[in-house]
Symmetry: C4
Subunit: 236 residues, 4 copies
C-alpha cells in the first residue's frame, strides 16, 4: 500500500468512528502502519474531524519521530508505536472513549464473551489491564499504557498468552479501549463491534449479574465461522 | 405472489431492519417463502445493505439448494429452511442481533409479557431455547439452532405447545432472536416490536425485578383486539 | 376554535409525538375537543402517520358516535370520551407507549417527583392506576381504562383528589401513559415532558433506589414559577 | 470582545447545547460576560431555539438590570449573575437539564472521577450542592441556587476550596447542572463533556457500585495534559 493510500485509509477509519457515534469531539484516534517502509500514519492531536484531510495525517517512524506533516501527532502516539513494535501481526490501531467499552474500563472489568455477537469477532473475553502504578503514570505514561496492554496479552503463571489478532482489543483500566486489526478498516470495524458487544454485555449483566459466558464449543464455532482457513461467512 | 415480488418483499424487510436500527453492519437477515413453488428467497451472506438489489437475493429450495443467484445465501440458511419445514403457517423469517432482545438471549431469559405493548403482538412470553449441547454445536450447528427453536415450541410433559403465529419469535440462548410472520412485512414488523418490548421489559425488570406479568384476561383482550376474527384494531 | 382548526391542531399533536420519538409505528393517538359544539376530533385507528391529513381525522360526539369521517376512530376512543366527560377542564388527550413512562406503568409504579424538571410540569408524582379487574377487562375495557384513571384522581379516605390540570398525566398499570392538557399542543408537550421525566426517574432510581423526592417547597416554587397567576417563566 | 460578538458567542453556545441533545424544548440557557464593561448577555426566557437571533439576546448588568433588549431574560438570571460576581475567573455560564447529569443531581450524588475522560476536563469529582432549605426556596430562590453552588466550592473545616476553573461544573441537588468556562464556547463544551462523563459514571456504577475512582496520579496526569502551562494535547 502506498503511503498516500494509507493516509486515506487512516482518515476513513477515523471518520468511521465518528459516523458510528464512537467519538465525542476529538476523543479518539486511528493509525495505520506500512511495515515495509517502517512508517506509521496517525491522526493529528486535538484537531476536529470535520474537514480533516488525508494530507493532515502525520507520518512517523516506529520510534515516533515525525517524518512528514506539520501538525503534532495524536498525544497517544507512543501507545500506538509500542503496539506496532510488540504485536507484529497488526496493521492498524484505533483508540476511542466509546460509551460502554469505556464504562467497563472504568469498572476495571473485562468484557466477558456472553454471546455469539461477541464470539464472531473476539475469541474470548476482551481483557482489561491492571491499573497503572503511580510510577508508570508519572513516568513515560503513554508508553506505559501500551506496556500494560502488552503485559495483559503475555503468558503468565496463571494464564496463557492471548493472540492479538484473535482478541483484537483491550481495555485500559480507568481509561478506555484500544482496538486493532490487520488494516485500518478492520481496526475501526473491531472498535464498532466492541462497543456493540460492550452494550450487550452491560444489558446482560445488569439483567442477570451471574450470566454464564458462551461455551468453548460456541466460541469456537462462531469465531472460526468468520475467521481462518475454514471460514464460511460472507462471499470470500 | 410472483418470485420477483417475493424478492422485493424480502429486500424491503431487510431494509426495514436497517431503518429501525436493528442491525449493525451485516448482522441480520430476512427470508420469505413461496409455498406453492416450494422456493425460498433469502439475503446473501455478509453483503452490505447499502445498494442491495432484489436481483442479489438468493433463491433456494426447502433443502437449502441454491436454485437462482450467484451469491452465497446467508450463513443462517439452514435455520430458516428448518423453520419453514416445521412451522407450515409461517411465510417469512427474520434474524437480527438487535440490542435488547439479544441481551435477554445472552442472559438465557425469556421476555415476559409485562404489558399491553407486548400482548398486542405476542400472546405470551417470548421463550428462550435451552443452550445447545456441545454435540449440537459441533455438528450441524445452524440446523440445530432451528431444532432448538422448534423443540421450545413443542408440547412437553410440563408445558403446552406454543402456536408459532401466536408467539412469532424465539430467543436462541447465548445467541439472538429469530422472528417470523405470515409474510416478510409482518416478520420484520414483529422483529421491530420484539426489540421494543425487550427494551420495555429490560427497563421494567431493572426498576422492579419481581414485576408481575399481565393477567391472562389482559393478554387475551389485547392480543385478540389485534388478531383473529374478532379483531377491532385498524381499518380492516 | 373552528372544527377545521381543531383537526389541524390534533394532527400536529400526533406528529409532534412521532417527531419526539414517542410512538413506534401506530402505537399512539391524540384527540382534542370543541366543548362549545360538544365534538371531539381523534386520530383514525391503525393508520400510518406518514401522509396523514387533517381530513382523515375522525369527528365524534362525547358518546363516541362518529359525526364526520369515513375512517374508524382510534380503538382507545372510549378512554378519551370518558376523560373529557369526567375532567371538564381538559381540552385534549394524548396516549402513547413511550419507552420509559410505559416501563413505569409495567412496573405498576408511579413516577415520583424527584426533581425540578418534573416539578416544572407536574405538581406531584404522576400516579399509576390500580390493575384492572378481570371483569373490567372482559367488559367495556376501553371505558374501564378511563374509569381507572378517573378513580385514581378522585379523593379517597387515604388521599386527596388530584387536579387533572395540576398533574396532567396518569399511568395505566400494565399498559402505558395517558396525558392531557388545555389544548392539543399542551397535551403533546406534556407527553414529551413526561417521557423525559420518566427517563430521569429511571436513571435516578437505578442509581439510588431510595432517592428522596423534592420537598414540598421546591415543588411549589417550580410548579408555580411556570403555572398560575404568579408565573414568572417565559415572555407571557 | 465587542458586545455584538458576545451576543453571537452566547447564541452559538445555546445552539451547541441543542445540537448535542442537552436541552429538551427550552430547558436550558447560556450566558457570557464582558468583564471590562460589566455587562452580561443571556438567553431570553422560554423562547424557542429555532430561529433565535443574536439581537434577541438580553443584555444586563451584574445586578441583573436589563440594559438592552425587549425580551425578559432567562428565569435563572440571578444564578448567573451571582456566579459571575463570586467566581471572577469565569467568562460564561451554561445551565441544562441534560439527562444523566440531572439524574445524579436528582440522586443528590456527586459525579466521581472514575476515568480519564472525566480527568481530562474535571480535576476531581463534580460536586453536588446541599439541598436548599425551605427558607432559601421560599426566599430569593434563584439567587440562593447560586449561593448553594458557591458554598459548595468554598473551603470548610472538612474540605478544601475547589477552583471553579479546575472543576467547571456543579450539580444543584434535586435540580440540574450548572457549568461554566473562560468563554461561552468552553462553557458549552464543558456541559457536553459533563453529560458524557455522567453517562459513563452511571454505567460504571450500575455495573460495579463500588468502583474506585482514578488515582491522584492519573487525575494529575490527564488534567495537566490538557490544561495549564505544561499541556501537551492539541496543536496550541
Amino acid at each position: 500500500m502506498l503511503l498516500k493510500d494509507l493516509r486515506t485509509a487512516v482518515l476513513d477509519a477515523n471518520l468511521e468512528l465518528v459516523k458510528r457515534g464512537l467519538v465525542l469531539y476529538t476523543f479518539g484516534n486511528a493509525s495505520g502502519i506500512d511495515r515495509a517502509e517502517g512508517l506509521m500514519v496517525i491522526k493529528p492531536s486535538g484537531v476536529d474531524y470535520d474537514g480533516l484531510r488525508p494530507g493532515q495525517m502525520v507520518v512517523t517512524d516506529l520510534d515516533g519521530n515525525v517524518v512528514e506533516g506539520t501538525l503534532k501527532p495524536s498525544s497517544d502516539l507512543e501507545t500506538h508505536t509500542l503496539l506496532y513494535r510488540e504485536f507484529p501481526s497488526i496493521g492498524a490501531v484505533v483508540h476511542t472513549h466509546s460509551e460502554f467499552a469505556t464504562s467497563f474500563a472504568q469498572a476495571g472489568m473485562e468484557i466477558p464473551a456472553l454471546g455469539t455477537t461477541h464470539a464472531d469477532t473476539f475469541y474470548g473475553p476482551v481483557p482489561c489491564t491492571a491499573p497503572l502504578s503511580d510510577e508508570a503514570i508519572g513516568g513515560r505514561y503513554v508508553h506505559e499504557t501500551g506496556l500494560a496492554i502488552v503485559r495483559r496479552f503475555a503468558a503468565t503463571d496463571e494464564r496463557a498468552a492471548i493472540d492479538p489478532l484473535a482478541v483484537p482489543a483491550c481495555l485500559v483500566a480507568g481509561h478506555a479501549p484500544f482496538c486493532w486489526g490487520r488494516d485500518a478498516h478492520e481496526a475501526a470495524h473491531n472498535a464498532v463491534v466492541l462497543e456493540y458487544c460492550a452494550k450487550l454485555a452491560y444489558n446482560t449483566l445488569t439483567l442477570k449479574p451471574d450470566a454464564d459466558g458462551v461455551s468453548q464449543a460456541l466460541l469456537d464455532r462462531h469465531y472460526f465461522r468468520k475467521h481462518g482457513p475454514g471460514k464460511t461467512y460472507g462471499q470470500g
